[in-house]
Point group: C2
């Protein structure tokens, strides 16, 4: 980072869009100084409400995100969008060079859209997405939408980063079953059945509702009950109902102190990640990295096992600390 983190923080807190973009780039590229940046802006975070939007490719997550952003704008909110979905039109351009495609919401100064590429990134993307959300939060965006594709590990990670998690499905055969298998049932605060003008929508909603009822039969009456909301995001149908469900969930979370608990868990995870990263960097200095590389031939010949080599390196680390 060429700029002073403190100066950048000052600028981004005052809402300077270039400073915000610069800060997120620094985080994305893991530039030196980005940790100082995050440390200094942390005090300004905690006001933005974070909504995770996840689901399988093709469910219409970005359209829903887009329409939701427009609705929140009309309600006077400042909206930040972070899209970490390789199939999203926000990020889809990454491949062709045009990192962020212009959308109608993006021309509005009260909306900040940022896409983060998952291609080639070896893990850690959800951490970076969360740090980007911290930047937007500190910059005064009170509503932050985190869009990710919900396959694999990412949907579980996004649930950790969001205050409310919305799982978007479409009435395709098997979509509900897939969602269940992928662990989406556990993380959804509610479901959106998008493209619900398609045949099979009612059955799909019924299927999810059934599973939810089945799962929920042993929880207290006061507990939150996820529901399924039908939308046709393309036609702007049901978007208000989604926003209302987010609001209901937010109120429930606040009243039951669940919001603080969820945020504490997030902060706890964040500390753990910072520590692990620090230890990793500290351990793998040039000398130990070199030693490992020198031991590879032995490993290949089965003269030593990876556990033996690891033991040796750990012993060395202990001696130097």
């Amino acid at each position: 980072m060429k700029e002073k983190p403190a100066r950048l923080v000052e600028q981004l807190i005052s809402g300077n869009r270039r400073a915000i973009a610069r800060a997120i780039s620094a985080i994305e590229n893991g530039e030196g100084g980005s940790q100082e940046l995050l440390r200094s802006l942390f005090a300004k975070t905690g006001k933005g409400y974070r909504i995770g939007i996840t689901g399988p490719p093709g469910a219409g997550k970005s359209t829903l995100t887009n329409k939701l952003a427009r609705l929140y704008r009309k309600q006077g909110h400042r909206v930040g969008i972070i899209a970490v979905d390789p199939t999203s039109p926000f990020t889809g351009g990454a491949l062709l060079g045009d990192r962020v495609r212009m959308t109608d919401v993006e021309l509005d100064d009260g909306v900040f859209i940022r896409s983060m590429a998952s291609r080639g990134s070896l893990g850690g993307l959800s951490k970076k997405a969360q740090e980007a959300a911290d930047v937007l939060d500190a910059a005064g965006y009170d509503t932050i939408l985190l869009e990710t594709v919900g396959v694999g590990q990412s949907e579980l990670d996004i649930a950790g980063a969001a205050d409310t998690t919305v799982v978007v499905l479409v009435p395709e055969s098997g979509d509900g079953i897939q969602a269940m298998k992928a662990g989406l049932m556990e993380i959804a605060d509610f479901f959106v059945m998008n493209k619900s003008d398609r045949p099979g929508a009612d059955q799909a909603v019924m299927f999810i509702t059934m599973i939810l009822g089945f799962k929920g039969s042993d929880v207290e009456l006061s507990a939150w009950k996820p529901e399924v909301i039908k939308t046709v995001a393309n036609d702007n149908v049901g978007i208000d109902a989604v926003a209302e469900a987010v609001e209901r969930h937010r109120l429930h979370m606040e009243r039951s102190d669940l919001l603080n608990r969820r945020r504490q868990e997030r902060l706890e995870r964040q500390v753990r990640e910072i520590v692990d990263e620090h230890l990793h960097v500290d351990f793998w200095n040039q000398e130990r990295s070199l030693r490992l590389r020198e031991g590879l031939a032995e490993l290949l010949d089965r003269r030593a096992s990876p556990y033996d080599v690891a033991d040796e390196l750990i012993k060395d680390f202990r001696m130097q600390n």
Copy 2:
């Protein structure tokens, strides 16, 4: 682990199926002793050839895996299958309790099928899959098929675990583009266009070939050139061509010493993972975990940042080492 690792290793090396299953379970559940187990069997690994089979849900990866296994059996190989795909019929049963569904290959004693659930597992699954492959390798399975769903991070991980990586696609609109975006182009040693009796198959193959030609224009003539093989796995069409391509790739890797290089990289990654896990466990002892939990209220109130809390804990760790 109740058994002695050494005894279990002895049994599994002699081909005892129950010992193999037991060892993989110990790894999957992270039981104490499983590291000792892996350490002792390591010397017996390195003979099995590992083939990664990945691609989007619904591409027919498990059918292809199944048919390939049958072909390899006919050729006299002993075949291990590890399926870490939430959408695979091998693993799909996990949800309903019948962890592994019986398939025709499974009744054969020369085939060992193991599914590993990705649901709920917070990362580390590719590491465990690789360790399971080590068990099968040590037990004398000379051909090991690793099946994973190719969305998100998993496909990149599986490429690290395999000697040859096969990416399976179907002629659906956009499948090729998705594959490209997800980073599958980089990891595929070759492509299989499955369900190639469907309309659009030729165009889909052409599209992939075009992209491959585009990417390959700047590499040397001697370099490996990924190709696209058409199959209809359900009808056993093209399976022999897939096996031939694997063999061609294996020979290329051996001749150019790429196989050793790839395996060295795998071993290097393995050492790094062992070290990181060790450091993590060592750091997060009861005392420091408690301290972190006590600091959460401060974090929530923004009196301290996660970076400050992490700094304190790291300082403490240094003093104790």
